[in-house]
């Protein structure tokens, strides 16, 4: 099944994992210490994030370290700001229009 990025970030635990591994690469065990859930649950979240290409896995000895795919996050950031711009530019035009209507009202 193809995962989408909305699914990846819909879960609060996954959002917390992203914030943690953005700081530095971590093993599933180290991550699990931050949550009340089992290591298995953390692994499942990591798998979903990996399917969305939001995390990178590096094997070091017997451990796998997970880190954030910074480039992927930046891509998403640009994507969001594009749409935020449309919405906010509408409201800014509305601000201008309202200022004009207020001005008319005080004059009449």
């Amino acid at each position: 099944m193809k995962r989408d990025v909305f699914q990846a970030i819909a879960d609060p635990t996954r959002r917390a994992i992203i914030a943690l591994i953005a700081l530095h690469a971590m093993t599933p065990n180290a991550l699990a210490e931050h949550f009340d859930t089992s290591r298995q649950a953390v692994s499942k979240h990591l798998r979903i994030l990996a399917e969305c290409e939001l995390v990178r896995q590096d094997q070091k000895g017997r451990e796998i370290y997970y880190s954030l795919e910074i480039e992927k996050m930046k891509e998403i950031d640009e994507w969001i700001s594009q749409y935020r711009k449309i919405w906010e530019s509408r409201f800014e035009q509305l601000d201008t229009l309202l200022a004009e209507l207020k001005h008319q009202k005080t004059r009449s």
Binding site: R15, L68, D77
Partner: protein
């Protein structure tokens, strides 16, 4: 004014909040008078709004259509007014009109609820978009330019906000 706040109360809903430095009666006019609405409800730079028809009677229909002036591509929304409480609330349906742009936003109509609350001369406006189903929300997101779209990115925004100070140093 502070930029719009966006959240996703459920996987079928998106909520937008924004305050305006004007009393509710003026904001109401800007939301219900087609000529005024056309002046701010733009799609993107370079797009015009050739059709902006609406009535604010319950059961009344509306039709909005935008055009990319560079290539003539059009798309829009149509719907019906379900509830109208002057200066305080509008509820209407919303159906995507693919025009010549194409795309789909699912089969069901979204329900849009806009509320206006005035305090100290400022009006707080909330817009709740409820998609007919989660599948429709996904369809709206993949189509591109819709109100629903920007909203769906909110959770992502939260993540990016948490991550930003760190990624900046990488």
């Amino acid at each position: 004014m502070k930029p719009a706040e966006v959240s996703t109360p459920s996987d079928q809903e998106v909520l937008i909040k924004r305050s305006f430095d004007a009393p509710a009666d003026l904001v109401w006019r800007a939301y219900t008078d087609p000529e005024l609405m056309r002046r701010w409800l733009t799609a993107m730079p370079g797009w015009s709004m050739p059709v902006c028809e609406m009535t604010t009677d319950v059961g009344g229909k509306y039709r909005w259509r935008w055009r990319d002036d560079a290539n003539g591509v059009e798309f829009g929304f149509t719907g019906e007014m379900l509830e109208v409480a002057p200066h305080s609330k509008i509820v209407h349906t919303q159906v995507y009109d693919p025009g010549t742009m194409g795309g789909s936003m699912g089969d069901g109509a979204s329900i849009i609820t806009v509320t206006f609350n005035e305090t100290d001369g400022q009006t707080h406006v909330t817009t709740l978009i409820k998609f007919a189903s989660k599948a429709d929300r996904d369809a709206a997101v993949s189509t591109g330019m819709t109100d629903g779209m920007e909203m769906s990115y909110k959770q992502l925004d939260e993540v990016l906000e948490a991550v930003k100070p760190r990624t900046a140093n990488v």
